[in-house]
Subunit: 179 residues, 2 copies
């Protein structure tokens, strides 16, 4: 271990803007064979931003996949060749209008390994300053900034987990020992 | 809110065994237009199983998407028309050889809303009995059962998040107040 699955055939089924979709014929370590569909993703970077008075900065964001809005930490797709911290330093400014002076890497975790190779690189972002002129948001984003205490976020997760996505819950848990 | 994105055109790009992949032309609530790729998934059900002496039951599972093994809570894809608890009662037996006497629903959360409509339905499973003759595992699964204390799992998440997937970290956090 780790043991590779044996790739018998691979096919790029769709080339997307931010990720590809592949269909692979594989033989697994246990000998089973089958077609496996997978999103091939460059990875995402996420910040848990904490203001100087201890509030968490989240975004309330429309997600077409579920046709609803979710509470999430600011995050973005890593550009080709980009360092994850560079990605999230840009995204936090675009999505929230805050710049962080202090960054702490919390590690990476796999988001949806049943059908995606995406890892989320999580960071704790502290010593936030509000930008006088925040950069323009991506025109496919439609979001509002929300400030919450850690206690309020924990209550929201426990009471309404359907309104917060997995990467945000997991990243909050990674951050918790440092808050 | 919630506001629907306006669907201008939709296309089934791939029909898979467990989920489909669609490419939709959408107009978002903010007026932006674009192609959006999405996995259309029936949902997943997950158990955080706790033995009578307080240990968590996880699986150490090969994941071809990342060509490595991960520590995860037992979980499975919901079959058409199936109740999530029925799914996970079956999966926990197949994957771990345990049957739970006591089930508690913890709610659902969206797994990867950037490109999937999958929700994970999380359950706390208690009063576990080991089956004398566990059902056969799916032949595409290749996994080992791992028992851990909550303290050990928390240490693993903090120190090696790359070895544990987002749904397992998030579900553990939902379970924590009840442990």
């Amino acid at each position: 271990m780790p043991e590779p699955a044996e790739l018998l055939q691979n096919r790029l089924a769709y080339r997307g803007r931010k990720f590809d979709f592949t269909v692979d014929r594989l033989r697994l370590p246990n000998g089973a064979e089958g077609d496996w569909e997978c999103i091939r993703h460059p990875g995402g970077a996420l910040a848990v931003p904490v203001t100087r008075d201890g509030k968490l900065v989240l975004v309330y964001q429309y997600r077409f996949a579920i046709a609803d809005r979710l509470l999430e930490f600011p995050a973005g797709t890593i550009e080709p060749g980009e360092d994850p911290q560079t990605t999230i330093e840009r995204e936090i400014e675009e999505e929230t209008g805050y710049r962080a002076q202090t960054w702490q890497a919390l590690g990476k975790f796999p988001l949806a390994p049943g059908y995606s190779d995406e890892y989320i690189y999580a960071f704790l972002a502290r010593d936030l300053d509000q930008l006088d002129t925040p950069p323009q948001q991506d025109d496919d984003e439609d979001l509002a900034v929300v400030l919450m205490t850690p206690a309020d976020l924990e209550a929201a997760i426990q009471q309404k987990p359907e309104s917060i996505d997995a990467k945000s819950i997991a990243s909050y848990f990674l951050t918790r020992p440092y808050l």
